[in-house]
């Protein structure tokens, strides 16, 4: 028993070291939030199509397929940066990407896609931003993986990067496809 008391300070120091180690991890983002939606059914999407003459965007139409839902806006700089990798998401992993222009004027979103190319299987305009709030986004860009049963499997807050695609999205896609 006495000996245990002597071990106590060592134990406390070990716990502190572990806590500080975690705190100092450069890959850790302290402002990252867990998504409340992962593992739950995706909110319904019913938005006017973005492209001229496009039908309404309805997530239910993609049932049975793993899709990525990507929120973007023409005024968002990181969205510009991630744009090329969205194409890769479709080309390399065979995941169709649904684009939702969040709190953006449809004209501006259309110009954005005309300039950078359109990587999306379908697009919708969420001018009020309400669909984004239904998904619990904190800003743009954000990308969600929604599986064939309509369950949200993964949420990526922030832009898709080559490293993110390889290290984070690829495993998440493999997991979601199982």
């Amino acid at each position: 028993m006495r000996r245990l008391v002597f071990l106590l300070p060592i134990l406390i120091v070990a716990v502190l070291v572990a806590a500080f180690w975690r705190g100092l991890d450069p890959n850790r983002d302290p402002s990252a939030l867990p998504s409340a939606l992962v593992g739950k059914p995706a909110p319904a999407i019913d938005l006017p199509g973005l492209a001229a003459g496009a039908p309404r965007l309805d997530l239910a139409a993609f049932k049975g397929k793993l899709v990525a839902v990507n929120f973007f806006a023409s005024w968002c700089l990181p969205c510009r940066a991630e744009h090329a990798f969205l194409k890769q998401l479709n080309a390399e992993f065979g995941v169709p990407v649904i684009g939702i222009a969040w709190k953006d004027k449809p004209d501006a979103s259309r110009a954005f896609l005309a300039e950078l190319g359109d990587p999306y299987a379908a697009t919708g305009a969420d001018e009020s931003g309400r669909t984004g709030i239904d998904f619990g986004i904190t800003g743009v860009p954000e990308t969600f993986l929604v599986d064939g049963n309509g369950i949200v499997r993964y949420r990526l807050a922030g832009p898709v990067t080559p490293e993110g695609l390889r290290n984070v999205l690829a495993p998440a896609i493999a997991e979601a496809k199982r």
Binding site: S31, L33, P34, S35, A36, L37, P43, K103, G129, R130, I133, D134, F135, G136, I137, T138, G139
Partner: protein
């Protein structure tokens, strides 16, 4: 002091003006409810501000949403549930007491109790200490005798 008050008053006016720019509810009691509720919802971008204090886009959006839902006759709890379903317990500045938040609620008190126990043990031990004064061994007794004798002789120390 006066100057501080003046600054606080100005900030307060500025804040009210920021809130006033948005469409308000016609009924003042409903508007008050919307404002009170906005104060307990955390802005998900600027995480230590409430939705009422934040100027972020998403915070504005949430304020509008809260007003809309209040106007639609939803209760405060309905609106909290709506936001928690989308953003998790994190959006509430006053998170609920449940299994996943036990550490948050109890942790500080547990640390306090551990510290109190440590202090009690420390003082108890110290109180017992005088009872355990050890007898001097013959060697030490000789040294004491020698030192006392030297002092009586008026010479310093000396080994």
């Amino acid at each position: 002091m006066r100057r501080v008050l003046a600054v606080i008053a100005m900030l307060w006016l500025g804040l009210s003006a920021a809130l006033a720019q948005e469409a308000q509810l016609a009924d003042p009691t409903l508007e008050q409810r919307a404002r009170d509720l906005s104060r307990e919802i955390r802005c998900v971008v600027c995480q230590s501000q409430s939705v009422a204090d934040s100027d972020a886009d998403i915070a504005r959006e949430l304020r509008v949403l809260i007003r809309e839902q209040i106007a639609a006759g939803k209760s405060d709890q309905d609106i909290r549930d709506y936001l928690v379903a989308r953003y998790g317990d994190f959006v509430l500045f006053d998170p609920p007491f449940k299994a996943s938040t036990y550490v948050l609620w109890i942790g500080p008190f547990a640390v306090l109790v551990c510290a109190a126990i440590g202090v009690v043990i420390f003082f108890r031990r110290r109180a017992q200490e005088p009872a355990r004064v050890r007898e001097l061994n013959p060697d030490e007794q000789n040294r004491v005798a020698r030192l006392l004798r030297d002092k009586a002789d008026g010479t310093e120390g000396g080994a």
